[in-house]
Structures are given as C-alpha cells and as structure tokens.
C-alpha cells in the first residue's frame, strides 16, 4: 500500500501545481502584470484587463476550486480512499474518553 500512497500523493501534487499555475497566471499575470496591455481590448463597457482584475479573476478562482473538487474526488475513488465517515472521529472520541 505504501507505493499506492506515494503515487496518490504525486498525482495530488500534479493537480495542485497545475491549478495553482492557472491561479497565478490569471490573478498576478492578467490582473496585475499584463493589465495595461489587456486594456486595449474591450467588450461592452469593460476594458478587458480591468474586467479580469475586478470580476473575471474571482470567477476563475471559484472555477478552480470546483475543478479541484472534481479531480480529487475522482482520484480518491481510484485509490479507494473513502471518506464518507467522519475522518479523525476516532481521535476525538479517544480523547474524550481519556478525559
């Protein structure tokens, strides 16, 4: 099983680093570093850079968390890591009993 735990952790790290790259690119990249360049494009009353900085980035953040939830659920299923019960409940119960 310890081999499994390692591959699970590696897949987890891959998912996290891919999503964080998008997070960095959208917020710090598009929202801050390239914002003036993007401002030359317009849609409706918005300049693109301004819109990403004040609206778009937040929507991307929400999407990133949901992609993460989806991918991790799939990964947990693949490795049979059920977490339907209370995780760590034993720990707390033991603690309660010893007090």
């Amino acid at each position: 099983m310890s081999g499994n735990a390692d591959t699970y952790w590696k897949s987890n790290l891959k998912i996290v680093s891919a999503l964080l790259s998008v997070w960095f690119f959208i917020s710090f990249g598009c929202g801050i570093l390239f914002v003036d360049y993007l401002d030359q494009f317009r849609f409706g009353g918005f300049k693109l850079g301004f819109w990403i900085a004040q609206q778009g980035a937040i929507l991307v953040f929400v999407a990133l968390i949901y992609i993460y939830i989806y991918l991790m659920d799939k990964l947990d299923d693949k490795y049979n890591l059920e977490s339907t019960k209370k995780d760590g409940a034993d720990l707390i119960n033991q603690k309660g009993a010893s007090e």
Binding site: N4, L20, W23, D39, G45, A53, A57, I65, D76, L91
Partner: protein
C-alpha cells in the same frame, strides 16, 4: 415609516433570530464548543465561513475604498478571494484530516514542540485581537448613525449579543448564527445594489450593469467611460487606470492572499465538517458565497462614485439633499467653502477641493444618495451589524480556544477535566469581549491601522509554517520556529518602522523596493520560508512518529496505509 423605525424593526428581528439560534444550539462538550462536534454540513459551513470572513471591513468599507482607489482597489478584490484557492488546495483538506481543534494544535503537534505551540498561541491571539477591535468599532458606528444612540451604548449592545451566543453555544452556536447572518448580510448588500443598478443602467444584475450604458437621465454612455471622463474633468485619477506601482499592487495582493489563507478564524471553520471531502466542498461553497458580494462590490463602487459626483459637485450648499446634512453630523462628510461661493467644489486639486468624504460612507449612505426607499436604507444597517458580529464571534472563539485549550489544557495543565476546560473557554470569551468592547469604545489611534496589517502578520507567520508542515516531511521544529519568528518580527518591524518610528519616510520613495507596509507580508512570507529551509538543513530531521503524522494527513479517509 422613518428610516429609524425600520432600522429598529430589522435590528430587533435579526437579533431575536440570533438569540433564538443560540438557545437552540447550546454546546454540551468541548468538541461542540471548539468544532461544533465536527458535524456541520458543507453547505452550512460554506455560509458560515463566508459570514465569518466578510467583516465590517468587507461590508462597510471595501466598496468605498474601491470607489476612491479605482482599478488599484483590485488588490482587495483578488487578495481576499484568491486566498481561498490557496486555502482549498494547500490547507483545508489536510488540516481537516489532522482532525484536532485549533491552529496552535497543529503547529504544536506537527512540530513536536511546546515552544512552537506557544508562538502559535501568541500569533493567533495577537492577530485575532487586533481584528476584533475593528469589528466592535464598526458595530459602534452603525448603531450611532442609524439608531442615534451614542457609540458606547452601541458597542455595549453589540458586545452583549455576541457574548450571549458565543458563550452559550461556542462554535456550534456561532456556526448556525453565522449561517443566518450570511443570509441577512448578503440580502442587505444585494438589494440596494440591484436597485441602484436598475436605476442607473436599467439592468437588474449589478455585475452586468457595471459594464452597461447609463440611462438617459444619467446622461447615457457606458458607466465606466462616463466615470473616467468625469474623474478627469474634475482632476481626479482616471478610474479604470492604476495609480500605484505594479510591484506594490503585486505585493499587496499576495500579502492579502497568503494572509487570508493563514487567518486562524477562517482555518478553524474547516475543522467543523465531517470529513476531507466535505472540507473541500465547503471551501467551494464559501468562495461562491463570498464571490457574490465581491463581484458586486466593484459595481457598487462605480455606481456610488458616479452618483456622488453627480449629486454634490457644483451644487449650492443650502440645496444639498437631506442625507448630506445627516452624515455631516457624524463628521464622515465635511464641507469647507474655500472660495465662499456657497457651492460645493469637489475636485482633485487639494487646494481647491471643498468636500471631504469618508470612505465608509459610500456603502452606508449609498441607498440614501440614490434616493431608495427607507426600508432599503434600514436594511443596510442590519447587514452591517450581521457582518461585524459574525466576524467578531469567530475571532473571539479563536482567542478563547487558544487560551483554554492550547494554553491551559495542552501547555500547562493537561490533567484538567473537560468541564474545567469548557469553563475556562467561557471565561476567556467573557474577558476578550470586555477588552474588545473597551477598545471599541476608546479606540487608540493605531488599532484601525493595525487591522489591515493583521493580514501581513498572518501571511508571514502561520501560512508558511502550515504549508511546510504538510508538504515538507523533512521540515523540523527548529526550522518552523526560526521561520515563524523571523517572518513575524520582520513584518512587524517593517510596519512599525514606517508607521510609528519614521512616518515621514512612509511614501513610495522611502519604502524598501517600493513595497508599502501593506504589502510587506509577502516579503515576510519569503523571509519565513528561507529561514525555515536554511535552519532545517543544519538540524536533525523530525522524529519518525511526526513523519508518520505527515504521511497520514496527506491521505483522506480511514484506509490509511503505512
């Protein structure tokens, strides 16, 4: 009915609701008191987290700050939401798996050290305390303006309510009142925003109205173009262009993100759900609920700024609307007729400008400025109170658990019974409420400033220590302690240097690398990481049991493989 009558009705109803919930959800065990028995459904935890997170600052001040910062206001918007991505991906699931009660619990166990635990207790109490004083002040302002009681009475009423449900229900009571408070605050924020959006652009969704054309009576043309034009005409900075340097905006945004992910009162919310999957889900719900307000706020900022300029610029002073005179009484808006022509000149040039507007007014007075019905104006007061009280309760709980659990039980008196621990937790909340109330009534000048720096301190102390604790098995106690101390002291030192010792240097030329004290938390995070790495390289690796803890928290579920 008058605004005041409506405000009384709303405040009375919502406070009654909070007390009802507190009675219904009394805490019976330490687990109830600290983590609501780890039994909160993810949707409810998402709402509670959103209310916990969105404080008087988000509700009252943020839109106003943005309307004066223009595009630079972005660092609040991205900083205070982007941190949730870090929280969801790097912290929440693992800390939930760890399955204890507090942040110092994690630091103390993961770094097998009483000293590390005590440093964490100190940081948690400092950060939370600084933050809670601001909430009490916010509640005081709302009471004094809308109910026309003095600030002292206002703060005492707020203290009494928080005290009642925090002491009775602990985390359980706080969680379910926060769910109710989220509903109140989001309703109170959205209703005026929708009204104003319809009034000014004819579009019911503020986020869309933000990029739409103004109606004929407001002069037509795209809202943002018009706002840019008016700002330039009056000599203000262009609204949709940045004024601060790129690196400063970058560093402030990062400091707020890391700080958000390191704030103990937010982190402990993820201890209250049943399991790891639910921890991830509730982070998703929390950010959705937060995003509703955070995408509306910049729209409100632009609407309010346009409306303010339209309403007051070049208007005769004795013709000003009623709200103007009312807010003048609270000193949040002031007019000084420099050229004695009896008209208000609101312009960018400080020599000629005759109007001073406090940022906080933009949300509180916005419905009045737009001429919305009295009940909408009153709703804002109830929403602001919900925002202030829900955050205050979460922070007080952190202080109380840090004292009762981490300090008394885990550090000094492990033989204490559960009943004694619960009693200490309640006494600690009582003392914290009294002190916070006192500071709210007699605010020392620095408190309001320091609130903003709580983020920098959290970013430089907790965030790296927790992330390294999960992702670096080799990280040992020496490294973590060195990191937390250098990060915290560096950040606090930088802030104190510019804010108290050398205020004359507090400008872009004086700052080191052009980074303002607001953004220095990012450097603090980096200093923490470097110190932690270097020290851990030259000191022994952590004991095998600790490495097993790390292995264990990385995997969700009971089927742990060793």
């Amino acid at each position: 009915m008058s605004v005041q009558t409506w405000t009384f009705i709303f405040v009375f109803l919502t406070f009654g609701l909070y007390i009802g919930i507190a009675v219904w959800s009394r805490a019976r065990s330490t687990s109830d008191f600290y983590v609501a028995g780890s039994d909160v459904p993810p949707l409810a935890n998402g709402m509670a987290t959103a209310a916990d997170w969105m404080s008087a600052a988000s509700f009252i001040s943020m839109a106003g700050l943005i309307s004066f910062l223009g595009r630079d206001g972005t660092f609040y918007l991205m900083g205070w939401t982007g941190g949730y991505v870090l929280l969801a991906l790097l912290l929440a699931p693992y800390l939930r798996k760890f399955g204890k009660f507090t942040v110092p619990d994690f630091i103390g166990d993961r770094y097998y050290s009483k000293l590390a635990r005590l440093i964490a207790v100190f940081c948690a109490i400092t950060i939370s305390f600084v933050y809670v004083c601001g909430q009490m002040q916010g509640a005081g302002i709302v009471f004094s303006r809308f109910l026309e009681v003095d600030i002292t009475t206002g703060v005492i009423i707020g203290m009494a309510i928080v005290f009642f449900y925090a002491v009775m229900g602990g985390m359980k009571g706080i969680t379910y009142t926060q769910v109710a408070q989220y509903c109140v605050l989001i309703f109170a924020f959205m209703v005026p925003a929708i009204f104003i959006s319809i009034l000014m652009t004819g579009v019911a969704i503020p986020q869309v109205g933000f990029g739409s054309e103004l109606t004929e009576s407001f002069g037509g043309g795209y809202l943002l173009d018009r706002l840019d034009g008016m700002s330039e005409e009056l000599g203000f900075a262009t609204y949709t262009e940045g004024q601060r340097s790129t690196q400063d905006v970058f560093f402030i945004t990062a400091a707020l993100m890391f700080g958000t992910a390191g704030l103990p009162h937010v982190i402990i919310r993820f201890f209250t759900v049943p399991n790891v999957r639910d921890a991830r889900r509730s982070a998703g719900y929390a950010l959705i609920f937060i995003a509703i307000l955070y995408t509306t706020a910049p729209a409100v900022a632009a609407f309010a700024k346009t409306n303010l300029i339209n309403t007051v610029d070049n208007v005769e002073y004795n013709q000003v609307p009623e709200w103007f005179t009312k807010w003048e009484a609270t000193n949040l808006i002031s007019f000084n007729d420099k050229n004695s022509d009896g008209r208000i000149q609101y312009v960018g040039d400080p020599e000629k400008n005759e109007l001073e507007v406090n940022r906080d007014i933009m949300v509180l007075a916005n419905p009045e400025i737009a001429g919305l019905p009295n009940w909408v104006v009153a709703l804002v007061a109830a929403g602001a109170l919900a925002a202030a009280l829900s955050t205050a309760a979460g922070l007080l709980l952190v202080i109380s658990t840090a004292v009762a659990h981490d300090l008394m039980k885990r550090s000094f008196s492990p033989s204490m019974t559960e009943r004694q621990e619960l009693l200490y937790a309640r006494i600690a909340i009582f003392v914290a409420v009294i002190i916070a109330g006192y500071v709210g009534i007699n605010p020392p000048a620095y408190v309001a400033q320091v609130v903003a720096y709580a983020f920098g301190l959290a970013a430089a102390s907790f965030f790296p220590a927790i992330v390294l604790g999960i992702f670096q098995k080799r990280m040992n106690k020496h490294g973590a302690i060195a990191g937390m101390l250098t990060g915290f002291l560096f950040t606090a030192g930088y802030i104190i240097f510019f804010k108290t010792l050398n205020p004359s240097l507090d400008n872009p030329e004086g700052w080191w690398l052009g980074i303002s004290p607001e953004g220095v938390g990012t450097l603090g995070t980096i200093v923490n990481l470097i110190a932690a790495y270097t020290v851990s390289k030259f000191t022994p690796e952590p004991p095998i049991e600790v490495q097993e803890i790390v292995q264990n928290i990385r995997l969700p579920g009971e089927t742990v493989s060793r």
